[in-house]
Symmetry: C2
C-alpha cells in the first residue's frame, strides 16, 4: 500500500512528469534534463532521485554522467499499467512536446551545467564518444 501511495506521490509533481516525458523518449543524464526543462541542477537531480527510489527509474554511471531511464523490467506488474497511463496522458501535452524538442538541442556539456561552466568550453567525449559540444 505504501509502495503504491509513494508511486502516486512521485507522479503528483509537474516537474517529475515532465522528466518522465523525456525519459519515455530516451535515457538522459541530469545535465540534459536540467537543460531541456530549464530547471536548476539541484532540482533535476532531486526529482530524478525521487523517481528513482520509487522504483520507476533505473540508473547507471557513464564516466561523469549519471544516466537515468525508465525501469520497464524492474516494475514487474506493479507500475506497468501506471507508466502506460502516464505515457498516454503526456503524449499530447504541449509542454512535454517542447521539452522533448529542447532535449534535442541539449548537450551534456552546456552553459550553466557547472558552478562556473563555459569559461572556454570545448570539452567533448567523456569516456567514450557520446556527444560533442558544438564549438
Amino acid at each position: 500500500m505504501r509502495e503504491l501511495t509513494k508511486a502516486f506521490q512521485a507522479l503528483s509533481d509537474e516537474t517529475r512528469l515532465r522528466i518522465l516525458g523525456l525519459l519515455l523518449e530516451r535515457e538522459c543524464c541530469v545535465c540534459e534534463v536540467m537543460q531541456a526543462l530549464d530547471i536548476s541542477q539541484t532540482r533535476a537531480s532531486r526529482n530524478l532521485n525521487i523517481l528513482y527510489d520509487t522504483g520507476l527509474l533505473k540508473q547507471r554511471n557513464e564516466g561523469l554522467w549519471s544516466l537515468y531511464s525508465i525501469d520497464r523490467e524492474g516494475m514487474k506488474g506493479r507500475f506497468a499499467g501506471l507508466v502506460r497511463v502516464v505515457e498516454k496522458a503526456l503524449e499530447s501535452n504541449p509542454v512535454v512536446a517542447l521539452d522533448r524538442d529542447k532535449l534535442k538541442n541539449a548537450q551534456r556539456v552546456g552553459p550553466g551545467c557547472g558552478p562556473q561552466a563555459n569559461k572556454t568550453s570545448k570539452r567533448s567525449t567523456p569516456t567514450k564518444g557520446s556527444k560533442e559540444a558544438k564549438e
Copy 2:
C-alpha cells in the same frame, strides 16, 4: 498537466486509496466510509471531497445522506486507465479486504456518526428503507 498531477496527488494518500477500495465495490455514504475505515467524520468527508473534485467520484444526495461513487463515465479516457491500475493494485490488499468486510456491517446510522449519537438510537429508514439500525 495540472489536472493529471492533481489526480495523482489525490491517489497518493492511503486513506483515499482505501476509500476507493470501498467505492470500487459499491456506492457509499460518508457515514459508511467512516465506519468501514474507522476514521473520523471530518476525515472521511474531506477525503471524499478531495477525490470528488479531481473528477474521480460523482456524488448524489439521498435524504440526509451524501452518496459517493466512482465516476466511470465522467472521466472520459483521462483517468480510465488510472482507475484500472488502482483496482488491480488494491485487489489483493489485505487492508482493503478488511475495510470491505467492515463495510458489510456498517450501517448508515451507527454509533459515533453524529456529535452526540446513540442516545436512545433506534432510527431507521431515512427516505426509503435502506438499512435498519440493529436493536
